[in-house]
Amino acid sequence: MVDHTNTDIIRSVQIEKVIVETPSIRTIIFEDKYSVASMPGQFLMVWIPEVEELPMSVGIENLGSHKFGAVTVRKYGPGSTALYYKKGGERIGIRGPYGNYFSIPKNLRNALIIGGGTGLVPLVRLFGDLLNYHVNTTLIMGSRTKSEVLFEHKAQKILTDNKHNGNVAFSTDDGTYGDKGSTVDLAESILLSKKFEMLYTCGPELMMKGVQKLGERFSIPVEASLERYMKCAIGICGSCCINDRLVCHDGTIFDSNRLRQLTEFGVSYRDKSGRLSYFIPQR
């Protein structure tokens, strides 16, 4: 008899529904009780048979009154593109959820969330949780252009349900929606006008590095969800190391104290062979 409580073992799930989020992003929905019990920031390893296995932030979707597990994927490489084109009724494999999750300190009153692209997947979940805990929360949603704004409808629904203490601000690289420019610049202007006790971020690493710097400047704790090339997700292969930490096992969320020690954060990452590569080419 298979041990169905061991979440490291791949479980086959049937896709219930696929939602088109943007021209390049879709959400794949499936029945899975472990995903439904996951926390914002945790991830699944998603197996697309014959193609790839990818780490993906785990989401929860309501269809009617029933909660389903979900992953939101941008078509990019062979694995993510194959997953993007999956249809209802097809099967994928999942294992996990893995990793730690964003923390909500007791007595937190004002939080600022800064997310870019698919980094918003865990952050919009977190936004809902924070508002449920009555934390005044501003969510900055960044994207390249208006058509790629992700999860606006989800954020709006969360706001509708919690009218008193939530705000959402947008920024796009090309200025077609919200502020023109980076989420970090928008965060800076918001921080100059209002006090926050916590910054949460997920998205491109250089954006998160910018958020970390804002945290240092304004003396506000930061939690960032990091991404590295991943194979095992269970802390044995070492592919996802950043300095002496394993993103899959020690993260993916790291706080300001740890981020300060991670000299590779925002500087370098390891490629598939384990060689160091640089976000900004070194001279």
Partner: protein, 300 residues
Amino acid sequence: MLNLEVAGIYLRNPIILASGFLGISQAIFERIYDEGAGAVVSKSISRYPMEGYRNPTIVVLENKSYINAVGLSNPGCEAFSEEIKTNDKVPLIVSLVGSDPSDFEIMTRKLDGSGIIGFEINLSCPHVQKLGLEVGDDPQMVKSIVETTKSNTTKPVFVKVGVGSTNILDISQAALNAGADGITAINTIRAMKISIDNFNPILSNKVGGLSGPSIKPIAIRCVYELWKKFKVPIFGCGGVSNWEDAVEFMIAGATSFQVGTAIGFGGMSVFNSISNGIVKYMERKGYQSVKELIGRSHKY
């Protein structure tokens, strides 16, 4: 109590990180040492960088065992020598993989001056063509690879053998005749996992290497036979999950033992918990040194 000498290497304890696990970064090596390992074996390093296979590369089984086909991903000997150039803390054994003696000559020369204590030649990776087991099943090739490696270093050279098509004793004999200082036994064993829902093999390479408790009884038998025949230093490897397994390997004949798969289930604290368990066992049995355990089962 736990310190001992293996082939001229002095170790604070016999618990070694097995090759293939966590082993590409100096910062991680230092963390593993701080977590209590006596020594660390790197991932197998090749002459040139290798990206390895597409995911899935690791599949978890029900009995705390894994099948992996990572595909020997590694940064290559040039980048790896840069990685470890500052190492003055961790007793580091570098695992080498290659397809002919010239690979080993170049790699040994490149890495010999780094802060390392020895080499382990991987003759037994079961899932990459023209590397590992395909080389390790050829006694003549084993002989020339070991001779070449030995002639380019004064450090001890271990040879990691596996369960391939050639008898493990014959391959070990060839390696020892060529000057190997010891044997690491065993590597993973060729295995598969197939999805009954999707009908296809899960690993992208289809076939991988089985590790963990599933292979321990086979590894114990190999270590027992190797010690019985050769009485040379042996790194026991294959399914060491706790101190009881560790003791079993040592009394079978292992001088030290390597731990890998268990990290996935117990985290890095497994090194200290095995140490503590062995110390308590020795106190109960009244032993002064862990060396007293080595090969003890052969009296019977």
